[in-house]
């Protein structure tokens, strides 16, 4: 039987399939046994309570989803008293996603959630940095390094920096996160997008703009995964548009050590256990001993036909 385990820094996951933040919650336990997953990743929480964005919060566009859920949050206390204990029943490591308005708040919040039962912290730096005109932390290497550095000295838990596809400097941001002490990267969050109802002229999301996810995002986030995996030596976790085992393979081949599945779980709630089974079958079909054997195996050999320069 092929070895599905994968190491993300100090953590060993029993397989490389885990949910993406915001597309997973306790309720999914009604569909399948959550312990089959490589890890559990919570919806991003904030320290205080927040309502989130106006409805409609979701719409679809050409095989993709747009969302402007925002970060509705019941706050840290509720989370520590309810969500963390729920996952304590499972063996899969619990990764909690957090967000804050400033680097210092990120650090304080990281300290607060570094409690037993939490295996790692995913840092959602796609949220606006109030100290940088509301520009998301993940847009700039400086702001990203700052957040991770401050969090690094506030908690001993592994820190996963979740990057944004909206930046023009993803490699620099990735390197800044690594240099500041991130244990892993997640590539990536949703891409800022918009849709209008052409019949009424109305924007389709209550918040006007929102994040693009689903299959349409994959070519973009796969590219980021490839770029980041080559630019850093910490593990990269691929995320964006994964719904089939071929998608999983593409990310692993591009260099991801694990993957997160988001929107696909909405389309088919049992996607993750299905992918775990199919990945194992696929490794066996290919005679590969382990997931490791696939990771980063991308072949960029030159084509047989090289083109002529114009004479």
């Amino acid at each position: 039987m092929a070895d599905l385990t994968t190491r993300i820094g100090a953590l060993t996951l029993k397989n490389p399939i885990m949910p993406a933040s915001g597309t997973f919650s306790e309720e999914l336990a009604e569909v399948f046994d959550l312990d089959c997953l490589g890890a559990h990743v919570t919806k991003t929480i904030t320290r205080g309570k927040r309502a989130g964005n106006p409805v409609p919060r979701v719409c679809e566009a050409n095989g993709a989803m747009l969302n402007s859920i925002g970060i509705p949050s019941k706050g840290a206390d509720w989370f520590l008293q309810n969500t963390v204990p729920f996952y304590a029943d499972y063996d899969a490591p619990l990764v909690i996603s957090i967000s804050a308005n400033t680097a210092d708040e990120f650090a304080r919040f990281a300290e607060e959630v570094s409690v037993p039962g939490v295996a790692a912290i995913e840092v959602n730096i796609s949220c606006p940095n109030v100290e940088d005109h509301g520009k998301a932390f993940a847009m700039r290497p400086g702001a990203t390094g700052d957040v991770i550095r401050k969090m690094r000295s506030a908690t001993g838990l592994p820190l996963w920096a979740k990057l944004s596809p909206n930046t023009g400097e993803v490699v620099e941001v990735a390197q800044a996160a690594e240099a500041a002490g991130a244990d892993a990267l997640v590539t990536a969050n949703t891409m800022l997008a918009m849709a209008i109802d052409s019949a009424t002229g109305r924007v389709r999301l209550g918040n006007v703009m929102g994040g693009l996810s689903g299959p349409a995002l994959k070519p973009i986030t796969l590219r980021m995964t490839y770029q980041c995996a080559r630019a850093v030596s910490i593990p990269v976790i691929g995320c964006g548009g994964i719904s089939t085992v071929d998608d999983v393979l593409e990310y692993l081949i591009a260099g991801a050590r694990a993957v997160q599945v988001g929107t696909a779980t909405f389309i088919s709630p049992a996607t993750m256990p299905r992918l775990i089974g199919e990945l194992e079958q696929e490794l066996e079909r290919r005679g590969l001993p382990s997931v490791d054997a696939l990771i980063g195996s991308v072949d960029i050999a030159d084509e047989a036909i090289t083109l002529a320069e114009y004479a």
């Binding site: 309720e27 046994d33 919060r57 050409n62 989803m65 088919s268 709630p269």
Partner: protein, 282 residues
């Protein structure tokens, strides 16, 4: 009304969600017919696993990809009827856009993938002995199985069915077959507005001793019932709609604000609903 609108329905008596209670299953289309110019009745052969469902619960349908329609997200549809004996599960839906357009192309024998049962169904409280049901449009689909439930509980039911025009009235024979007293109102007849309905309902409260309201399909009717209910101390329930992504409670797409002890709270229509206490809706 096609005969098949009068299908036998058979709902499980308990509503509490249990572990692994939600299933994703492929169902074969058993029948699919037009009920009128806008609505279609889709009957599936569904496995036993998903048939432990309640009136007011819904399923999340993976509408097919066609050359003309490529819906991406699932579409929520209330259970119109559920027959555990024969393994039938039916939906009554309005052909609206991309998803229902694709759905309308399904033919007998085709496969449809569904997830469910989802959400909290109607609850007929023991103290409610004389229910009134007011449905409009798509709401007729959602409330239909409640009529059967009332029949099972031997509760006399009055149903006001509202539609734009008489040809768009649906399920009235079904309601009657479950022993309900049916009143129809339509826009074309001019008796479906709040001004006409108010005295009608006040009259029914007096004459029939109505002590519970159930409604679906019209914000206007819901507001009216909230008002009448508050005045007469009559409770009730409403089934709501909201744009959904997951349908299971994970994404928080489908929230609406509700009255709560200390102010207001956002609840998920897919999870805490789609059926809510009539007076708590903001």
């Amino acid at each position: 009304m096609p005969a098949s609108l009068c299908v036998v329905s058979d709902f499980a008596p308990t509503a509490a969600p249990v572990r692994h209670s939600v299933h994703e299953v492929d169902c074969r289309v058993k029948a699919h017919e037009w009920v009128n110019g806008q609505y279609r009745l889709l009957t599936l052969s569904a496995p036993r696993s998903v048939l432990d469902c309640q009136p007011g619960q819904f399923f999340h349908l993976l509408c097919p990809q066609t050359d003309r329609f490529q819906p991406y997200l699932r579409r929520p549809m209330s259970i119109y009827s559920c027959d555990r004996e024969n393994g039938d599960l039916a939906f009554l839906y309005k052909v609206a856009g991309e998803g229902t357009g694709a759905l309308a192309g399904l033919e007998t024998g085709n496969v449809l993938n569904i997830v469910g049962p989802l959400g909290q169904g109607f609850e007929i409280r023991p103290e409610w002995r004389r229910p009134l049901l007011i449905a409009r449009g798509v709401g007729l689909a959602t409330l239909a199985p409640l009529a059967q439930e009332c029949a099972r509980l031997r509760l006399p039911l009055t149903a006001i069915c509202s539609a734009r025009s008489p040809d768009l009235l649906m399920s009235t024979d079904l309601f009657r077959s479950f022993g309900a007293e049916v009143v129809t109102v339509t826009d074309t007849e001019g008796n479906s507005d709040v001004e006409s309905l108010m005295p009608l309902i006040e009259g029914l409260i007096r004459s029939r001793g109505i002590d519970a309201f159930f409604t679906c399909g019209s914000a206007r009717l819901m507001r009216m019932l909230q008002e009448i209910g508050a005045r007469h101390g009559i409770g009730g329930q409403v089934a709501l709609e909201q744009h959904m992504a997951c349908g299971i409670g994970m994404c928080q797409a489908c929230v609406r604000p509700f009255r709560h002890e200390d102010g207001a709270v956002n609840l998920r229509v897919c999870r805490e609903g789609p059926v809510f206490d009539l007076q708590e809706v903001l």
